[in-house]
Structures are given as structure tokens and as C-alpha cells.
Amino acid sequence: MEDSTKIFLKEEQQLPDIEFLNKEYFESKYFTSDFNVNLGHYFGLDINDIDEDKEVLQYTRKKGRPSIRNFIPYLLQHQNLIANKHSLFYRFDQKERREQTIDQFKIFAGFVTQEYYILKQNLADSERKLKKFEKEQESINYQRDFNARRLNILLEEYETISGTKLLEENATIILSNPANYLDKLDAKSILIKEDSDNSIEKLLLLKEEYNKLLSEKRKLVYKYRNIDSSTKYAKQYKEELANNKNTIKAIIHSSKCPFCNEKSKSTMSEANQLEEAINWLNDELKKSPYLLDSFESDKNEVKRKIAEIDNNLKNKKKEMETLEKITENLAKNKSLNEQTLKAKLKIENLLESLLNKRDNSLEKDIKEVKKDIKGFKTSLKSKFDIDKKIQETETYINNEMKEIGKNFYFEKSYKPINLRFSLDSFDLWHEKEDGSKVYLRSMGSGANWLYSHLTLFLAIHKFFSLRGRDSLVPQILFLDQPTQVYFPTTIKDNEDEFSAQKIEEKKGDVNSNLDEDMEAVTNIFNQFVSYCKNTQKETGIEPQIIIIDHADHLDLENEDFENLVNGRRWRNRGFIN
């Protein structure tokens, strides 16, 4: 073919005889470059957008559309996989493929439709919107608090000047409806109590608070100095260590009598001993670089506290100044009336500025988005309820594995076998009676691995059969040499006929247990036969298991082996003749 990216796809009403397919049959018009997608449509795969949140696409790649390629892990157990202890599914060593397959299970099981992903996207959009609105709300609330504080200060200022309250309500209530209170203010005339000593009381109170803060600050500064000295010593010590200066300070210490200030002879020897001891201690201490945790963080904390107090002090001072200004202004012949009016105007001004800014729509928006989110969540639950379905599926598969596993020859220590499968991680493990988990890789022995694989895949296909038309995955299981555990593939079977005896001889195993091995192999096939029949009985669909293997002429319980082989012995030919 000249264009290697295109693949042949032709729909036939009747399957043509494979013997007569020649080059002419493959007409070029049936070659399509969109093979995968088209093939998927035949399997009922009509979902093309499986992103659950459009916004994250900025940071990650768009999720690929689900593809029939991801059916393969359910269908195929090739020679190196079927008894593998490290991997269960085809190509799961590729992280991306593994994640896709796990993610798309809900699609293949027919649990979801395209609508599910649209709902998910809408939900993610709305949740993001809500977050944005809530942030806006937060900043508005912050602004409101700020205004409330400001208003409180102004109201107090008015009160101290005039000796009367301008409004009875507190700041938050006034701010909740500024227009209303503006009207009230318009109607209200200024009232002044000339004999009020409000401002003096207030001033004294402020002064007291100011002094209290000041003393608090002093304490902190003292603490700060102490920490500072500690950190300085530590720093200095480190530097000295780094320079490795091993200088010993010699302290000349002449002991004097503390009473008469004359040199005392009797204590001279003690003094010298002391001198030596101090030198010894300093030496010893220098030997180790041991240091306490740095105090820098404590220092910073105290510094922050001091800054806080400084700020407080500044505010208090400002208030005090405002009050003192009243007296000052009075002296300058500005009447109380005039000053009160000014304070009132300030309050009106603040309220007016808020009048234009007020935005009620945000709360409405938030309410609406919350309603949307609730709606999306409800439809997701009522229409799909993925979590519950996945849960039920896990239970179903686990129960089936219990039934199917019973009949396989697991080793004694794993009997009764209790395999568990997780649809979250696609992990398989044996759960002991005490609840501890034994993962496949630590189970040991080829037979256990093989039977674990078989049990799991039979159970999964039974589940797909149960889903019937809803399941997208065809009920076909392809197994390549399941008996290799008993007849290793490393031994070349080049005879015209299968002979267990001959393979056993080639193994050169003295303690051969041929009979047991043959019995185990026969049992595997017996189980396949009864599985297919049971599944048909229970679900109405008979899965197809295709096996290629060396084992031959088996004596099965409920089926003639020749019927199953149906003349397809390929001992002397390859796949393409």
C-alpha cells in the first residue's frame, strides 16, 4: 500500500471464505485513515470527549478519546503474561495505557455515556465559578469590616465632640443599609451638650491605654535584646570554630580581699585552681560544635509583636491628637457646632461613597451557582451513580472469583483461595482470614500465578457477559499456552504428536510427577468448559475462549476434546502457510 497510515475496513453482510481473499479484494477505496475510530463505532463506542474538567487542559494533555485498543488488556493473555507475577494485564507496564484502561473501564462496562462527561465538565466549571465568587465575597467582607471600623471611629469622634450620639445603631447595622441611614441623617439636626466632659474622659482613657501599651513594648524590647545577644554569641562562636582559632583567653585574676581591698594570699591557690578549671572548661566546650537551635525565629516573632504594638501606639496617638485638636480649635474660636457639623459630614461622606459601590448581585450569583452544582450532582447520581456501580461490580467480580477459584489447584497455603480485585488500581491480591493482603508478586509458584490470572479473567468476562448488550468489550478471551507451568516452553516440542511422556523425559526430572501434572492440565480445560456453559446458563451469553497450546488429546469430563479442537491442529504449519 502506498499510504501506510491507512487501514482496510470493509463491512460485509456475509463473511467471505477466507481461502478466497486475494489481493484484488483489498480495493483502495476501503482504506481509511480513521480506522480506530470507525472500528470503535461498530463496538458501540460513541464517546469522544472524556475530559472531566476542561480547565485543567491548560496544564495537561487532553485525554485521548476512548479506543478499542484499550479492549485488548481484557481479551489477551499472551505467553509471557499468563503466568506472570508482576503484571496482570497486557501492556500495563506503560503508565499511560494502564491509566487509560482503568479510567475507561466505566465506559467499556457501559456504565456511562457522553452525557456523563458533559455533566462532569459542567460541574467542574460551576465549582470553579463558585470558588471565584467566594473569593470576591471574601474581599467584599474584608472591605465591609474596614468600613465598619472607620465608621465606628467617626461616630465616636462625633460623640466626643457633641456629647450626644448621632445614631443609636452600631456600625454594621448602619452599613447594611446606608441609603436608609443617609435619609435619617438628613432629617437629624445637630445636638450639642455643652456641659459634657466626654472628651476629657475619653482622653484620659486613651492615655492610660497608651501607657499600658508602652510598658508592654518595653518588656518585649528587653526580651528582644536577650535573644539578640544569644544569637550574636552563637554566630560569633560559629565563626571562631570556622577559623579554628584555639586561643585561650588568659584571665589575670588577682584575688583581693573584698573587705580591705588588699591582695589576699590565702585564696591565691584557689584562684589559680579556678583559673585552670575555667580554661579546661572552655577547651572542652570548644571540642564539640553542639549548638542550640537558632533563636532567629523567636527573634522575628518578638519583632513582629513589637511592630504590632508600635502600630497600636500610633493609632492611639492619632486619636489623642484628634481629641486635643477639639480643644485647640475651640481656642481658635471654632465653635463646637461647627466641629460637630464637620464630623457629621464625614460620616455622610463615608455612607455616600458606599452607596454607589454596593453590589447585591454577588450573593444571588453564588446562590445560583450552588443550585447548579447541586443539580449536576443530583443528575450524576440519579443517572449514573458511578461509585455505587463500581462498588457493586467489585463485589460481583470478587464473589465470582471465589466460586471459580475453588476449582483450580491452588497450593495448599492459598486454600481456600480468596482473591480480591480493585477497580481503582486493577490490583489483585489474596486476602487472608486475618485480613492481611498477599499480592500476586509475593504469592510464589507458577501454578498460583497462572490460576490467579485465569480466575480473574474468567470472572471479568462473566461480568461483561452479565452486562450483555451494555458491555462494549466482546466476550472473547485469548490464552497463549496456559499449560506452560507444567510443560515449560523452554523445552522444544517438535514431535508430530503431543506426548506428555516425552516432554517429561526431556525435562530430565527424576522426581517426575507426570500423572499429577496431566490431571492439573485436564482440570484447567474442564473448568473452561464448565465456565462457558455456566455463564451461558446464567447470563444468556456464552463467552469464547481461544487457546493455543501444546497439550493434546485430553480426556475431558463433559465435552469431547476433538470437538473443541475441531481439526485445527497446527503442528506442521504456521499461521501463514
Binding site: 585564696t267 584557689e270 537551635d293 523567636d298
Partner: protein, 158 residues
């Protein structure tokens, strides 16, 4: 004014009032070799209000680790500025010890451990808390050797 301050300082910080603090400290401390050197930690620890309070309320089960736990910030306050205070109190400590030896209240053994011969009462009301703390300082020091104590407290030089 400065003279006034100096005088007050002298009244409160002289060897005659401070020496009993050392006597009560050594009375309760188990004798170990070179424990003379621990005397330099006494005044810096028990005259500093923060650590004084902690030592005063210490119990037999206390230790240097309950005194200074690196996980608890408020405990670190106990040693803020300790190194500086050790330097500041060094000279007066020297004097106090020599004064006590001269008066035969303390005896210096050959291994530089200290034995108390005669106790002295504390006569200063303002020092009663410090006196109590000094008597309990052994709860913190326990039987640790001198170097470990200095190290744990973060004092790197004498």
C-alpha cells in the same frame, strides 16, 4: 541620679547578699568533680525572672530536658541571653566563691568539687524567690557532668 542608681545596684548586687545563694545551691547539689564551675550558672539562671520562675517550681522529676525543650518555644525563653548574663555575673561569682572560702563556709576539694561547711541565711526579702530557686537548681542539673550542662544550656564560653 546616676549615683543613686549605682548605690541601689550595689545594695542589691554585692557579695554579702549574694553569697548565701551559692551556699544553698551547693548544699543540695550532689558533689561531682569540677562542680565548682557550675557556680557561674547560678546567678544568671536564678536572677533572671523567666528562668527563676521555672526553676522555683521544678520538681524532683524535672531535668535539663524539661527545662529546655527544643520542641517548646516557651521553654526556650529560659535561656534567652544566658551567655551574656554569664559573662556579666562572672566577676561577682568569682568574688562570692572566694569570699565563702575565706570565711570557711565552703571548702574547695582537690578535684575542684565544693563542700559546704556552714550554711548562711538569706537576709534579703527581695532575694527570697532567688534563694528558693537556687536551692532547687539541683533538680535541673541532676548528676550530669559539667560540660554536658554547659552544652545543653548553650553556653559556649566562660
Amino acid at each position: 541620679m546616676s549615683k543613686y542608681v549605682d548605690s541601689i545596684h550595689k545594695i542589691n548586687n554585692n557579695i554579702f547578699v549574694l553569697t548565701p545563694l551559692f551556699l544553698v545551691f551547693y548544699k543540695n547539689l550532689k558533689p561531682t568533680s569540677k562542680n565548682l564551675l557550675l557556680s557561674y550558672l547560678v546567678l544568671p539562671l536564678i536572677l533572671y525572672k523567666t528562668s527563676q520562675k521555672k526553676i522555683k517550681t521544678s520538681k524532683k522529676t524535672s531535668s535539663i530536658f524539661s527545662f529546655l525543650d527544643s520542641n517548646k518555644k516557651e521553654k526556650r525563653e529560659n535561656v534567652y541571653g544566658l551567655q551574656k548574663r554569664v559573662q556579666e555575673y562572672k566577676e561577682i561569682t568569682n568574688q562570692c566563691i572566694l569570699y565563702a572560702i575565706e570565711n570557711k563556709w565552703l571548702k574547695l576539694e582537690d578535684d575542684l568539687s565544693i563542700v559546704v561547711i556552714e550554711e548562711q541565711e538569706n537576709n534579703m526579702v527581695s532575694l527570697s524567690d532567688a534563694f528558693k530557686a537556687s536551692s532547687k537548681l539541683c533538680n535541673i542539673f541532676k548528676e550530669l557532668d559539667v560540660i554536658s550542662i554547659y552544652r545543653q544550656l548553650g553556653v559556649k564560653e566562660l
